[in-house]
Symmetry: C2
Subunit: 362 residues, 2 copies
């Protein structure tokens, strides 16, 4: 507890996934947090989970975190600023420009407001899905604006650090453009692709492999929430989407006559541009070139996988990532283990010596 | 070995990923296979891996499998038909209509040809990446046409079953439309999305989470191969892509004025159509509702994960799937374990009793 930075009493408005997770994370640090929500049930549930206590008369929170749906965020922030004249107020909505603009319209005192956006979430919402570790290691944007400086908002950065997040400073505009690119447009693209699947025969859908599955995974998102997000960030989203639409038009022209001069090159150019774009994503997923992948065949049972991982541990090799791949009903599975390239050859040899079957190495 | 169906000597033309994998799988069944390739090195490598022996004078294969790049498939099939007047010939190219059309043009005897397409592959190609189990549990399309009936092509179905694949009968046209939907268009969509990432700032890309990562994973595919595939299946691909382009235009109109009547509904309709489309994909990935997911927190070390899986095994619970999720540099990781819903509550309880920290359950 001694490593806690935050000293203020934090009040969280909105006991959904994010609000409750913040409360749980603060509770772990021994910080004082209170909760409110338009739904008394949500508050009771969040309190039961240990995310804080209900607000009571006489409470004077120093920091207020508004964690309500995007379309009521500005209104809720304005009210919090008005009712708590000494408190610093932040929000966690996924679009920042529209909130700030609405606060200006409402005449709110934005010298005590700095919006933020934690890059964390789960496919399921609500306090039941909350977890204290939701923000650990995740970027959490502090969206700066002219009305306040980052130093005045120090308590917000303390909160982010206390719950395990990584504070990233960006302007409001930079934030909104960034999330349009790495979150909002991907959502629309996944949805547009998934929508096409409705036209396919059952036989066609039955052929679906990992590629289309990964591509459409996020397409099961909530339409109501996304209407709010997308309409609040319409311009940056439209700008990227227009460029994509133009790329598709170029492709369609090439596909209309693949034998025409330049047609094959137009197709290759797009695939090549995709190669270049995806290579920019840091981290360890997909076919990250920073790590070597080796594929080990196992019986499709937890015992086998456990034994494999135990032996990798015994060999002193640090596993960077792991993917389990098995077909429904198949008696065997494949484990793709990512390790630093230097470790690959000796690991393959050592595992083979122990009787493991290496189905492939990079 | 007694369960082998195939009796013919199989000759494989093309010692790449697919050809070599077929050879390896046949070898496991004790079937006789020979290999040829324009690259003598590839053949030697495939033979070294145990995928068969080189073809020798006097060999009379009963079944020839052409596993060469799409743009030389028809030519190679026609030559095989001509040189082996009694043999049945198949190929494994990922587009079937263009191969058949070219064979007709070449005047080949298609009464001994039936094209197929195994829905299996890996991100890396070549004989080195081959594995005997590549086809286990995977759909393998037999693309029927008027010149031959499935019964005449019985040996091809035997081969598919012997290597562990699941034979699916489709017409050539049905196949090409199906793969356009579940493979070719997804490739283009992933590439078009990934291409946009080149415009983002490093800070923006640094915010990338699992959604955009999954969405662009296949964007690192080989442009040369995809130019061949897409130009050979241009019409079905263009038809789906046109519908997507039209959906994007509808969206762009809505985003141009999100306050206009009907704009929010247009956005919600697309997200909703995506919900419906993605729900059609069978299997256990993403947020498959057939299984319950629980998330367990672990130290980011192979030892911890091994211990968890050992204990799940000890508890007698069958793990349906496993996903490891951890941020680069973070000292902890999350393991998402999928189990049948009936097993969830007791597993959560048992794991907690053993001191595991459950970060979330469905």
């Amino acid at each position: 507890m001694s490593d806690r930075r935050l000293t203020e009493h934090v009040h969280i408005i909105g006991a959904g996934l994010l609000g409750t997770s913040i409360g749980l994370a603060l509770a772990e640090k021994g910080a004082e947090a209170t909760l409110a929500d338009v739904s008394p049930t949500a508050v009771r549930l969040a309190v039961d989970y240990g995310a804080g206590r209900p607000l009571k008369a006489g409470d004077e929170p120093g920091l207020i975190v508004v964690a309500v749906p995007p379309d009521v965020t500005a209104e809720s922030v304005a009210r919090a600023l008005g009712e708590n004249p000494d408190a610093l107020v932040t929000d966690v909505a996924s679009v920042k420009g529209s909130v700030l603009a609405e606060l200006h319209e409402l005449g709110a005192d934005v010298s005590r407001y700095l919006g933020t956006h934690p890059m964390a979430g789960r496919e399921r919402g609500g306090p039941i899905s909350a977890r204290a570790d939701l923000f650990v290691g995740r970027p959490w944007v502090l969206a700066g604006h002219d009305g306040i400086n980052y130093r005045r908002a120090g308590a917000i950065e303390d909160l982010i650090l206390d719950v395990g997040g990584v504070p990233i400073e960006m302007s409001v505009e930079e934030h909104d453009r960034s999330v349009a690119l790495i979150s909002h447009v991907p959502q629309l693209v996944a949805s547009a692709m998934a929508a096409r699947l409705s036209d396919g025969s059952n036989k066609a859908i039955g052929l679906a492999g990992q590629g289309v599955r990964d591509l459409t995974r996020i397409a099961s998102s909530d339409p109501g929430l996304w209407v709010q997000i997308l309409s609040a960030n319409a311009e940056p989203v439209a700008s990227i989407l227009t460029a994509m639409r133009d790329d598709l038009d170029t492709l369609l022209a090439a596909l209309a006559d693949p034998e025409a001069l330049g047609a094959r090159r137009a197709i290759a150019d797009l695939i090549g541009a995709g190669n270049a774009g995806v290579a920019r994503i840091p981290g360890k997923h997909g076919d990250d070139r920073r790590f070597a992948q080796l594929v080990v065949m196992i019986d499709d049972s937890p015992g086998q996988l456990a034994r494999l991982l135990t032996e990798i541990g015994e060999l002193g090799v640090n596993m960077e990532d792991l993917r389990l791949e098995h077909s429904p009903g198949a008696p065997i599975g494949f484990v793709e283990v990512s390790v630093v390239p230097e470790a690959e050859a000796s690991l393959v040899e050592a595992l083979q010596a122990r009787g493991w079957r290496i189905a492939g190495a990079s």
